[in-house]
Symmetry: C2
Subunit: 341 residues, 2 copies
Amino acid sequence: MKSILSIGATSALCASFLFGATGNDLVKKALDSGLKPIPTGNELKKLTGLDKATKAQIELGKKLYFDPRISGSNLISCNTCHNLGLGGTDVVPAAIGHKWTPNPSHLNSPTVYNSVFNSSQFWDGRSAHLQDQAKGPIQSAPEMNADPKIVLAKIQSIPAYVTEFKKAYGNNVKIDFDLVADTIAIFEKTLVTPSRYDDFLRGNTKALSKDEQEGLNIFIDKGCIACHTDINLGGTLQPLGVAKEYKFASVGGFKGDANGMVKTPTLRNILETMPYFHNGQYWDVKDAIKEMASIQLGDEISDEDVKKIETFFNSLTGTKPEIIYPMLPAQSIDTPKPKFD
Amino acid sequence: MKSILSIGATSALCASFLFGATGNDLVKKALDSGLKPIPTGNELKKLTGLDKATKAQIELGKKLYFDPRISGSNLISCNTCHNLGLGGTDVVPAAIGHKWTPNPSHLNSPTVYNSVFNSSQFWDGRSAHLQDQAKGPIQSAPEMNADPKIVLAKIQSIPAYVTEFKKAYGNNVKIDFDLVADTIAIFEKTLVTPSRYDDFLRGNTKALSKDEQEGLNIFIDKGCIACHTDINLGGTLQPLGVAKEYKFASVGGFKGDANGMVKTPTLRNILETMPYFHNGQYWDVKDAIKEMASIQLGDEISDEDVKKIETFFNSLTGTKPEIIYPMLPAQSIDTPKPKFD
């Protein structure tokens, strides 16, 4: 008996060595390593803050999110750079804004999907939450280039918007720039995309194929989960270039926050949100995986392992919420006119 | 009896003189003058050509319409200038395209809604139909600036697009630029917006308020229907500046077609599609009505009549089709990259 058990144990060890954990063992390993599924039901509402939001607020937030009149030129909406049809991003290396200006630090637009799960917002994490984040690009000269006073004057001059703010916040609502940003953020909090990966982490071991499980196992074993962790497989500030300098560090010259920390992007929907890295220098996710392994882990990872991790990424493509395209209220003769310079 | 009848007739004449036709008389007058409701059911399908279209074609057309990767830069979609949330237009005087370039003739983006009812497309009517129109802005350097070969290479490199073309047109489909434009046009043909005005023309005399009916009556009596006629209250080529030169004729220098003819814009949803005229010089529809009466009819129309015509325009704001925002297929590593210069 003893020798059979011993052979069994050796065999399990070999299988683990060759293929890593699978099935329930892999679920446990993933959860133990810090990965978490997107919660559901009331837990999700509480985590995102949507337990306090009303349907009227979400609908109004959606309109503001899609309304290009929130920009100085009437041409750029939140959805321009965070396009909900394109994985919540714009599929260009650096965001292009007002007057066709590329982002001054050549920064790539991060996806808005699941951004509520990030522990901070922007590549340097300078906003603690989406409400604060939303105020940035609206005002930024190379992005939407809007004076908050003009944004408010536009909204106040559009009767149907005023009515909707009253519906959302009561008749005595004071429409200010913070409330506009808060309302946009409420809509953004609905943009979560659960996938087969979440089913797997909740114990449905058939939700991921054998190859995807193998990729997840490598992803954990290699140490990618040191930064790509928690619900979003990312979303916290981390040092970039731990083992080696990032090959394209000079493009745009972005240095991260005061301590040189850079926000780890979520890997959810990663196969839809090329190009990669904060300055969008890699179009092929395989190249991005290789570069990350090299500069963060000092690991010249094999093509085979890269391919397996990419296969695992398929399981992170989530189901997007159905968005009925909003019909935006007509403006009045008092609405401030667009400015293009 | 005879004198009573005579008094009755005189009284009817007076009422007609003071208030014009109303109710069923006005319906008859409108139809006799050439105005027509948007047809319904099979009649509409036949008129628009949708009787030959499949659901798969319409859905694919919607994706292409919303996909900014159809432009050279990946930044501009059909919906950028013909925004379905903004009355099918962009609410700026002149369209702004690639590299933030204003339309060289300072032309205003016409609404895509109901454009299928126009007898020709573009302000100079140079396209006979939407299939031909769609090919223009995609290629135009100051608009979407895309080489048709690159558009096709992008589509061919996106596996889900190829699958959808096969679903729409059969496994042997040859995806060429004409077919891309045709497919976009099929979606555009669904963008019709029936309103209370159509109910009225079909005999529901309560569909328009008394004031709106008075406005419609003035609209007919003044002669606006000479150009703003048929289903779209517009959509055919007409001379501009019949009685007097258009005040802002020099802005952009647009001269119409070879014979100086300009496409009359539809008045459907006109209260959502400011600014007005081919070069977008009037933001207040009242000013546009005055200018039109002056330069086309030689009529210095009273403020009161202008106000009544504006009131009538309310009835032309139609019900928009519900659009579920399309999730666009992810590109591959073979997809041509965006170009910004």
